[in-house]
Symmetry: C2
């Protein structure tokens, strides 16, 4: 792997560039993004050179799509004639089934491997990029079949995932989307719904809140723009997750005066403790 | 105010003792609690002397009940014959209607003023006590009528609330319980229900979680023992809060693919930002 094209050089794309260099990558990294983002990414050293998609992709051994989901799907439409033989296209989108399906539809010559690094920060953008962002985090890969992980470019990419400190986890796109519906998308909607409910019902009495409300509503700070594509491309799995959550809340509501709630507190505390290990 | 009896010298009671001293209180503070808690509270300087309820209360100008709710109600049964004329009994319980009602029932001679400092920490106990715990926080008072706030002992107590850095907020017990059902109890149950749902549905795939799940499930670490009395004494208001929250989640579920969700994200983000000001 000698040349990488990172398309979308925000928090994730920029961090991938910085992490590659920190891990010893000595090839060239092209950045394709908006002008202002490219300026910041160059300044941060996340990319070596700016380029257009049409200029960067034909030179790249690895094309790393780190745009929002809808933009990734758009980009996939244009890549097939641009990609050089033996190159690998991958992405870092937060849902996988819609992207992997688009790749299957639009890419006939180029090899594709879907990915999702389980890393992030409260604030976005190239200025927040961080070469340690992937350190110790899972990096989900969703190959069409496990054999495709054995190709030379795929093995090479997985080696770099390990070198930047991440742990590759192989799932089908559907299994990925089902799991993150609970571990990520449900947490977001639980936080957003809590903040919206408190705003409506007690928004004029916020001084009467304990410090715990701030923790639980931190995710509610996330902008809708970041979530629009996620909600649209994973709506079925998220509906199921919301239904399971609503059922749990109804169970708590029906049992507030009984010891039944104790069991739920214990299961929940064990999960929260595991997440902190 | 020359002598204070703090009954229950854990995080809140211990912090009240430390905060009084830090604010210049030079009288004597008796502690009534379990032996081990008293040992730690003495060591930390939160109290000056240990005593039994029967020994401490007759000497006190202020009796500060900082036990769990059920224990506060038990203690109230015994205070009337012990309290000296002109003294004030107050409490720091997390719900107010049940406690104020018990005080009305059990106290015929002694003056009572319900209270709830909106302060806390993840970890409990006298060892966690902190003289700055109330700094900048609201301190809810629930007088039977506003005239009772004008008595000499009540005014004296409110002065000390201000001296320890807290802001007195006067509410009826019912209004307090309705507001904290949203700002505190609902946040706890939203977090507990989220953690329990994730444990059931994706507990074997926790490596596939973003960092946001940890924030949203931090409250789920709270032990049931702390919540049992709160849930039991505020069940009606909590049921209404859970119903409003479930309605909001159902609204989001029905609108995942539409722009309707955008408005909810914006209201929620504004609330979360306000909490951080």
């Amino acid at each position: 792997m000698e040349t990488v094209a990172i398309v979308g050089v925000g928090l994730i794309g920029g961090s991938f560039g910085l992490a590659l260099k920190k891990a010893g990558f000595s090839g060239k990294i092209f950045g394709v993004s908006s002008q202002e983002t490219l300026r910041v990414a160059l300044e941060r050293g996340a990319i070596d050179e700016t380029a257009t998609l049409a200029n960067a992709v034909p030179k790249a051994d690895l094309v790393y799509l780190a745009q929002p989901i809808g933009r990734i799907i758009d980009t996939l439409r244009h890549l097939d004639p641009l990609v050089r033989p033996g190159a690998l296209i991958t992405d870092a989108g937060s849902t996988k089934a819609a992207i992997v399906s688009a790749a299957g539809k639009f890419l006939h010559l180029a090899a594709f491997l879907g990915g999702h690094p389980m890393a992030g920060k409260e604030r976005r953008g190239a200025a927040q990029a961080d070469g340690d962002l992937f350190e110790g985090r899972a990096y989900v890969l969703t190959p069409e079949d496990t054999a495709s992980l054995e190709s030379h470019p795929a093995r090479n990419f997985v080696d770099w995932i390990r070198k930047i400190g991440a742990r590759p986890v192989v799932l089908t796109p559907e299994e990925h989307d089902r799991v993150v519906a609970f571990t990520s998308h449900l947490a977001q909607l639980a936080s957003t719904a809590l903040a919206a409910t408190v705003a409506e019902q007690a928004g004029d009495r916020l001084e009467v809140a304990g410090p715990g409300l701030a923790d639980t509503t931190r995710l509610a700070l996330s902008p809708y723009e970041l979530w629009r594509d996620i909600l649209a491309t994973n709506a079925n799995a998220i509906e199921l997750a919301l239904t399971a959550y609503i059922n749990k809340l109804e169970h708590l509501r029906a049992n507030l005066r009984t010891r039944e709630v104790q069991g739920e507190f214990e299961i929940a505390a064990a999960l929260a403790a595991t997440l902190r290990k």
